[in-house]
Symmetry: C3
Subunit: 218 residues, 3 copies
Amino acid sequence: MIIDTEILTTVPTIFILLNWFGIVVFAISGALAASRKEMDIIGFIIFANITAIGGGTVRDMMLGLTPVFWVGDYHYIIVATIAAIVVFFTAHISQSRFTLLLWADAIGISTFCVLGAQISIDAGISPVSAILMAVITSSFGGLIRDVLAGENSILLRQEIYLTAIFIGSAFYIGFIELSIDKNIAAIVGFLACLLIRGLALKYSWYFPGYKSRAGRDY
Amino acid sequence: MIIDTEILTTVPTIFILLNWFGIVVFAISGALAASRKEMDIIGFIIFANITAIGGGTVRDMMLGLTPVFWVGDYHYIIVATIAAIVVFFTAHISQSRFTLLLWADAIGISTFCVLGAQISIDAGISPVSAILMAVITSSFGGLIRDVLAGENSILLRQEIYLTAIFIGSAFYIGFIELSIDKNIAAIVGFLACLLIRGLALKYSWYFPGYKSRAGRDY
Amino acid sequence: MIIDTEILTTVPTIFILLNWFGIVVFAISGALAASRKEMDIIGFIIFANITAIGGGTVRDMMLGLTPVFWVGDYHYIIVATIAAIVVFFTAHISQSRFTLLLWADAIGISTFCVLGAQISIDAGISPVSAILMAVITSSFGGLIRDVLAGENSILLRQEIYLTAIFIGSAFYIGFIELSIDKNIAAIVGFLACLLIRGLALKYSWYFPGYKSRAGRDY
């Protein structure tokens, strides 16, 4: 598997673990979206997989890293499917599962903003493009989930979400460009994203949104 | 044409016919979605094409089988376009066209769940991945149609739809893995999907959906 | 950069300028969509980029021209990002910005219907496929913008939009097939699209939409 090997050689081992944690977290968020739509267990499985592997799939297609990563390594599908099945039978237990998920999701995007940036750099693309690619990697799985589920996407919720991913990726890419040690760059990028997203969650922060003053019939 | 040749050599001739039947059926379903939105004839043509070739296009992009299949064989576009034009001028005739479509669609997904699985195996991917790929091939054309038309996607209608595709693909892949004759595998996979979807349609079957008991503010 | 070089060698210089004008125009339309959703500045930037480069990205993925065009030439992202930032601070100034945008957008699609067709031909695909590809190139950025913003897509607004793109592309491809000079073909295709879209805008033209007479429970 191309991707896995690259990850193994280019980012700290902790990120291998975080990669799988991120996959599980996004799979759970997809399954929870399925639970809100009262879908059957196959629906849970499909939504969990789409959410968990959607961002990386779009990234691989845009970079030409085909077949995309999960085609050659079926563990992604197995892991996401198990997560979906567990959610199907346990989601009703916790009343606070949403808060838990938000924090797990924050760790997930913090992981993927670094992993996505690293994979993009490995593919030989420019730093500016790598930042956009990292944002896409981290957010598109959730976007596809929201669009297919007919929900307002995270993009529209005025939360500091894309911004946290953007800053985390920018820190990582910036440190790499400055030839700073890759491990340090990864940890700083990860923490920058997690800190911003975490503070935003804890204190309900948001950036000033644009206030429309003109005609709205567009 | 890569795909066609592979299909010719690896699946029974009947599936070549069913392939085109599936294209026509999905084109018609796209055109009917356009009719509900009262679009003009170009809208019919675009929606018919997106629905008919969308699933296979996503599959080819994920597998790296580019240019995607319809780029090298314009007959797909011609056939879908003719179907769209026919629907534009005749859709008002039948009051029961929806029932007819549901059954034709059932045959379409039964075909594509086998074809999609076979093309995935030909591309050298693992059995587990091939099943997911087959589900995507069969369902994504309709999903894109529903999202662009602003409709609730089939995913959200709690019908036994993805499940039928899933089981049909799993039968086909399973039989192939067991080295059972490809013709038999194709027919069993096809019939399994058609039977499940058909019974679900006839008796309004559905799997037990998840019943949410916790907070819904996610 | 593959794409840029090809454009330089195969279409008139004026289209290089129009290409960037089109990128700016679509970036602005994405930023305006963000303004309606009262997003923060990062949201403006992401929406502007998705709209400006979305259509070409889908085209490149389908043709296998990967990494997609903006990965190797970060100027696209820079330009779209600057446009987004300018819109964020100035969008409230103009009350008539929507009318302005519609006309700029008309020039944008007129450009991209020719550029998309030319890039498709350069990739060696058939004329019929090239027309569909050009329609996708010109319209998918806006479609993704509308879907992510939760708006009715341009497809559903019964305007002469896809039709104008379709005819402009068909003129260009037709002239090329007839071995007419590429510059003339480009100008005719461009003007055909602009004329049709412009007249439709000015006189609120629309083609007769399909009037449903049958059951609507599909």
